[in-house]
């Protein structure tokens, strides 16, 4: 029989969807800023694999010559990004939702099974609580990354006043590199996230908007049956 099962609490849905445009704006305005000193590449043994970013990419997104504008947007939306993140973390702690989200001691082994299953290498379905092991790791990592973005961001923004944050990041110069790398991480997360959501289907997506999933429930027996153990 069809039944409604509550899945994602209201606060988690709102913070999730509020974060989406904010993060998009932060990444976009971050690129406007990065353009002014676009020195990062992925270079291994003298061979450059990726250059951030090629000219056509900048022109396509109208990025050049907008440093001041980028900073103005970035320093406004950083507030929303940070406050929304803090609110989410506090909520997960108080509501107890963190129990579903934080990896436990089985998660790292199980995440491997999730990966093999998702890649169709293994048939056995790994244990799926509200979130499976790979999700626990991913959704916890993304929060740590968010905290990392705020810390490295503040270290770049006020390296003298927040000298201890700059120190924590390995100095001003390195803080900018971390800040950029984390952003690349978000983009990779986003791509995999979208792919997984599409593969998981409607019943998995809907709860992120409406909160509930539809399950097939065994009707509960009207009369309590005595279990075999108790009889014995």
């Amino acid at each position: 029989m069809k039944a409604i099962k509550e899945k994602h609490p209201l606060v988690m849905r709102w913070t999730h969807w509020i974060n989406f445009p904010i993060l998009a704006i932060m990444i976009w305005s971050g690129m406007l800023i990065y353009w002014a000193n676009d020195v990062y590449t992925v270079t291994i043994f003298g061979h450059t694999f990726v250059r951030f970013f090629p000219e056509w990419y900048y022109n396509l997104l109208h990025i050049p010559q907008r440093l001041a504008e980028g900073m103005a947007f970035h320093f406004l939306f950083m507030w929303f990004f940070t406050l929304n993140g803090i609110f989410y973390v506090i909520y997960t702690i108080i509501s107890g939702q963190w129990r579903y989200l934080v990896p436990d001691r089985h998660s790292f082994k199980e995440a491997w099974l999730v990966l093999l299953h998702d890649l169709h290498i293994r048939k056995t379905v790994p244990p799926q609580d509200k979130y499976n092991a790979a999700q626990r790791i991913a959704y916890t990592a993304i929060i740590i990354m968010g905290i990392g973005s705020v810390i490295t961001g503040l270290a770049i923004y006020k390296p003298v006043q927040f000298y201890w944050l700059a120190w924590l990041c390995g100095g001003y110069h390195l803080a900018r590199i971390w800040h950029f790398t984390l952003t690349v991480g978000y983009v990779l997360f986003f791509l995999i996230h979208i792919l997984q959501v599409m593969l998981a289907g409607w019943n998995n997506f809907r709860p992120v908007v409406s909160g509930f999933e539809v399950i097939d429930e065994q009707p509960e027996p009207a009369i309590e049956t005595i279990s075999e153990d108790e009889k014995a």
Binding site: K2, A72, Y157, V160, Q161, G171, Y172, V209
Partner: protein, 257 residues
């Protein structure tokens, strides 16, 4: 009489809840989009002391800067310094606005306007008789690059003391301009009298080269490079924000680090 409500079936409940939440979701998405459009197309501020930014964004910039300044700024927070050996030999240089070419030293005097209206004319030789302070620090450009460099000159606070500018230093701001008035910056007083702020006349133990603001430039490590005015021609003090080259181009007025 009200009829007692019939309990909804599961399918009805699903439909109903989906309808409500997706309507709200759609409204949220539309609202976000409209809000973004509004901000993105919001009018530019009228250029005064600041310019070039969207009005609401300028407001946010000012407020945010004030928040962080009040929360964190302390003249005891010193910029990290490095050993001289780490200082760059080839020092990066971005812009020549107001400081092109070389200025014959005999044609240059620093002009300082006092509250009384009197103007001090100070030669480089005279400045060099004041105690010299050196600093090796990581110079930070608003573009995002940074470079360890070594500067020598007169501490701005020493300069204030020596020329008895204490009354002037009670005002909120210092304004500095190049001799041709092409480049100009405004600095808040706490940053100006910060113990690491210099009127620099040396780079790597040598007199300043032309492209680094010869004969005298501002080195203010608690600010981005855009505030480190090259080739100072005049200094004045004021209660209100002096005009500032890059603040007129959409950058934050304070630009503090």
């Amino acid at each position: 009489m009200k009829k007692p409500k019939k309990e909804l079936t599961v399918d009805q409940k699903i439909k109903r809840r989906n309808f409500i939440s997706f309507t709200i979701f759609g409204a949220f998405a539309a609202g976000t989009y409209a809000g973004w459009k509004w901000l993105y197309n919001s009018p530019e501020e009228i250029t005064g002391i600041t310019g070039g930014a969207h009005k609401p964004l300028r407001k946010a910039l000012n407020k945010t800067e004030l928040f962080f300044r009040r929360l964190t700024f302390s003249e005891n927070h010193l910029v990290k310094t490095y050993p001289k050996s780490m200082a760059a030999k080839v020092v990066r240089h971005n812009s020549d606005i107001g400081s092109e070419g070389k200025l014959p030293p005999e044609q240059w005097k620093l002009q300082v306007t006092k509250n009384s209206g009197a103007i001090l004319q100070i030669s480089l030789e005279e400045l060099k008789t004041l105690p010299k302070t050196e600093i090796v620090f990581d110079f930070k450009c608003v573009e995002g690059w940074d470079q360890v460099s070594h500067w020598g000159g007169v501490k701005f606070a020493d300069f204030i003391d020596h020329y008895k500018l204490h009354e002037e230093a009670k005002l909120e701001y210092v304004g500095l301009e190049t001799p041709d008035k092409q480049y100009y910056v405004g600095i808040d007083m706490p940053s100006a009298i910060h113990p690491q702020t210099l009127l620099a006349y040396e780079l790597n133990d040598q007199p300043l080269p032309g492209k680094h603001g010869q004969p005298l430039r501002l080195i203010i490590p608690v600010k981005y490079g855009i505030k480190n005015l090259k080739r100072i021609g005049s200094i004045n003090f004021s209660k209100t924000r002096p005009h500032d080259y890059w603040a007129e181009q959409g950058y934050d007025y304070y630009s503090g680090l």
